[in-house]
Symmetry: C2
DNA sequence: AAAAATTCCGTGACCGTGCACGAAAATCAC
DNA sequence: GTGATTTTCGTGCACGGTCACGGAATTTTT
């Protein structure tokens, strides 16, 4: 009712100083004696003072910037969604005098990550969003960020260190488990004897396969409920459509009866051509992520289900979370935000 | 770059008037000659002026209120989710000097709707959120709102008139279609011969069954792809657990082999007890809406799938949309917002 | 045409905070 | 103890609106 809004003046009065001093304390701008600072902080706590965001925003001139460190990508690839969400988040907070900036690197070249990180640091951002692809390099970066007191948010995956402001991502293990449950839904054991997992050649030689946990979840489910089932691994090269198709064809000749196909990365659309040539309405295909190509494949009935998340919302929320923290020192209510795993089929992908 | 922010002064100068006049035009506060008004509007358009929200919020004293007209509900019922989202939306816009207020009525008593609507109008809200249960009464209300120039947003369902600001809801017909597709996923025709649809006794005698379109979508799918299939209707009384169970038991005795059970309203949890007594892992049960009871039923494996939407987000977004419109006359980008239909099973309901 | 009534419009005091400027107080050097 | 530094602090304008007040311009009345 009588919500008398307390202002910086009230605090100043209570502390026996001027509003200028209170302001200095509020923004840790220094030039305040320890004694005064103590009194001001006391008064702030006592009065339960919260600064008026609007007055602050109106008066301030300082511009902030939030940076995103992202792998280079081609149109329609996974990382594009993170990028889009980041931009959208930037628009959402642009009225808070916060802008955004993206630094790209080559996801197969650790050195390029380092230089991108270096450039990013030089831009002196007020906050950073990172999908931590290179574990060690990211760790190094994060140490510097901590030293510079720059908050950062993980998206996609997360490192096991303790200083990130928040994390947005899909629970990988569970997403594999979910996939297996959908693939085998209401099937008897003798109906699921063989499964093909299509994988990316390049990931084999990589330090860390990004889908490893997902695969683990999937395998655990199958081994528990379909112990007799055989899981084949088929490797393809996403950059070479011809070799991909050849690999698929020759595998198909070898194992013509396989009805269950799964792909743990976001590239299940690469199989569309093959499925078009070999239609089979007994087949069940499950992939991940709502890339345009994947969605189209579901629409055409080539892929049955997609397990997705609002990837763009991850980076969007990351930006908003950072902005809230930068402007108002507001801690996010939940630090580890596992986004919901959506299940998309032909009939519910329209409004996604 | 040189994003020189244009202020009310720039507009005033361009129009050859004072800022006071511009302000009067901006808020349709009258006391402006047609000539001046025209010049001001011209200048606004020319300069592409947008008022500074923060300055406005800082200076304004006026309080606004957004009202929600909602059926009375018990804890754990569908309408509670709309309520929760409304409250959450209210918190999100509270800093815009906007508060919220809820007016409850008896969903089976048209007269109580009318008095609630009357009370609501007397509170002179700046915006209204309505799930239009009573078509005619809502129409009457809406006419008054239009006359009073009060914007309103539909949630849940929508009337076929043209003046609402926005609508948030699930595409009912499609949600039935989706349900049928999931129920029969990868089934051969001879595997789906009988389906039970459990319905609410009371809805039979009601003017309009709220699930009618959903049922239509469901039936259309089944008739298309499983023309031989028989759909049974079983009516229960949600307020009487004993009679419900009796109805289920006697139906079960009559048709013991039925493996497919569907419920089109949000009360599939009412069947939990029965399923507990008659476990059958060949059975497939699909319901709607993520009420706690329903979620629990999925977790326990009594219900296979839930088709849900973020019901709370409907009313939440409704409030935010209204606030944006009230404060900044911002039209929502999409007027008819069909929210995405989520599919929930045992393995992806945790983070929902 | 002057007076009265209306309509229209400019002015200026806020709203609560940020920040530059310079004065006051405290510390230091000798 | 005096002057020079350095530290600490108060003051006042700016930010871009809102809105009440009262005066100017216009219309109406007599």
């Amino acid at each position: 009712m009588d919500e008398k809004k307390i202002t910086i003046f009230d605090v100043a009065e209570k502390a026996g100083v001027s509003k200028g001093t209170v302001d200095r304390v509020l923004h840790n701008r220094g030039e305040v004696s320890k004694k005064s600072e103590a009194k001001v902080r006391e008064a702030i706590k006592l009065l339960n003072y919260e600064p008026n965001l609007y007055a602050s925003l109106l008066a301030t001139k300082s511009k902030r910037e939030i940076a995103l460190l992202l792998p280079k990508y081609n149109k329609g690839e996974y990382w594009e969604m993170l990028y889009d969400g980041f931009v959208a988040g930037g628009e959402a907070v642009s009225s808070l005098n916060i802008s955004t900036n993206v630094f790209l690197y080559d996801q197969y070249d650790s050195a390029s990550f380092k230089t991108a990180a270096e450039r990013m640091l030089e831009s002196r951002p007020s906050g950073v969003v990172i999908p931590p692809l290179f574990k060690n390099d990211t760790m190094e970066l994060v140490n510097k960020l901590n030293a510079m007191d720059i908050p950062y948010v993980y998206v996609d995956t997360r490192l096991e260190e303790g200083n990130y402001l928040a994390y947005y991502g899909m629970p990988m293990y569970k997403s594999g488990y979910l996939c297996a449950s959908l693939l085998t839904d209401r099937r008897r054991e003798d109906e699921v004897k063989e499964i093909v997992v299509v994988r990316i050649q390049r990931d084999k030689s990589r330090l860390s396969d990004p889908t490893i946990n997902r695969r683990a979840g999937f395998t655990d489910f199958i081994e528990t409920y379909f112990p007799e089932c055989v899981i084949y691994n088929l490797f393809i090269d996403p950059s070479d459509a011809r070799s991909t198709n050849e690999a698929l064809e020759s595998f198909h000749e070898l194992h013509p009866g396989i009805k269950h196909v799964v792909m743990f990365n976001s590239r299940v659309h690469l199989l569309s051509d093959f499925f078009k040539r070999h239609p089979d309405n007994q087949r069940c295909v499950i992939g991940y992520d709502n890339l345009d190509g994947n969605v189209e494949a579901v629409r055409e009935g080539l892929v049955n289900l997609l397990i997705t998340q609002h990837t763009d919302r991850q980076s969007h929320d990351a930006v908003v979370t950072l902005a809230d923290y930068i402007i108002m020192r507001k801690q996010p209510p939940i630090r580890d935000c596992y986004v919901h795993m959506d299940i998309l089929n032909k009939y519910n992908l329209e409004n996604y």
